[in-house]
Subunit: 213 residues, 2 copies
């Protein structure tokens, strides 16, 4: 299993998240709550992934479904939770108490998925000691210490580009193994640290390229 | 050219954005400003893309570079601007005046790349009529009208998941052709409308999967 785990490409993992999100949304209606099985076709329509891809992705982790009957909703949900690591709580830190850091601190989607923001870090004395959504803003000087103390392995970077490398290095010294980076800059990370970059400008340029005809 | 344009995969376009971002960052130092040519190796080190891939990506759009000399910095920058559609200004609307909408309205990276946020739309009477970063917050009822009036083709969705489909439909009626969607939901869009999804939870789950071993 462990062997297989590390071979799974990220795009597949991201689709599993999408399937899981859909299964979770079923709980919001009575009809959905009463659903015992679900077909790959139904998952396909609700997620925009083609049905063959749905079947292939879910087969990757073992035989969940039965031909003609579909997947058992509760078991599939549980399995996806386990695969995605959502069966536990993940302490998270945010570096940067700007507007984006604030938006993330208030985003209910994080806690809902088990991502608990333990603290926010900034270098601005006017912000240190305040709170966003009841989460304390600490001095960035203490970040390494708290990351270690909270046993945090996930860090979210929302600092300006010119600070990002330095703050990422501090995070890693504290014990961070995975960084979600919003700073529009390429970060050089030590071996074994994973990074996901979210760059709004790059996403928009991916759209304008196709408009620009 | 037009034929070729539509065949270019998005991952390539995103890397072109990364190269362009790097070239722009060169202007921040005197050494960078004096640089006449740049090698694929140097671009590679600064962006994390391997040198062969850099050469392949840039060759895709014609022969910029000369073997042993490298790419002329100014011409390459200009060419990337043109390819990415950054040689013009793009009016943009934001739907949702929450914390994320606010963070985007204040994000200097948008205007820097030619994305001008013309207006923000919300359904909350307490927010309508106020401003974020001097950008007016309008009633969502008037969104279609303003999108049309401003000739806006790019919309950013930061509304809650249960409103997202309805607001996206309204955007498209107004004339939006490309949507950057932050709502954690799959949107069904009419033919010819492009979408880029940014989902923080999915990105984090892409990280926890690999931590969960």
């Amino acid at each position: 299993m462990k062997q297989k785990r590390f071979k799974t490409p990220l795009v597949t993992i991201n689709r599993l998240s999408i399937y899981y999100r859909y299964l979770e949304s079923l709980k919001e209606t009575e009809e959905g709550r009463n659903l015992e099985t679900i077909s790959s076709r139904k998952i396909s329509i609700a997620t925009g992934v083609n049905p063959a891809q749905v079947r292939k992705d879910l087969a990757y982790f073992g035989e969940f479904g039965k031909r003609g009957i579909g997947y058992p909703v509760i078991d599939l949900g549980k399995e996806l939770r386990n695969i995605l690591g959502l069966n536990k709580e993940w302490p998270v830190v945010i570096a940067g108490a700007g507007n984006l850091g604030k938006a993330l601190a208030y985003y209910p989607g994080l806690e809902k998925r088990g991502f608990l923001v333990k603290g926010i870090f900034d270098n601005d004395p006017k912000k240190i000691g305040k709170r966003f959504n009841n989460i304390f803003i600490y001095s960035v000087e203490d970040m390494e210490k708290y990351i270690c103390e909270w046993n945090t392995r996930i860090g979210i970077l929302t600092v300006p580009a010119n600070f990002a490398q330095n703050i990422a290095d501090k995070m890693i010294l504290g014990g961070i193994k995975s960084i979600l980076n919003f700073a529009p800059v390429y970060l050089k990370l030590s071996h074994g640290v994973r990074i996901q970059n979210i760059d709004v400008s790059i996403e928009l340029e991916g759209l304008t390229y196709y408009l620009n005809s």
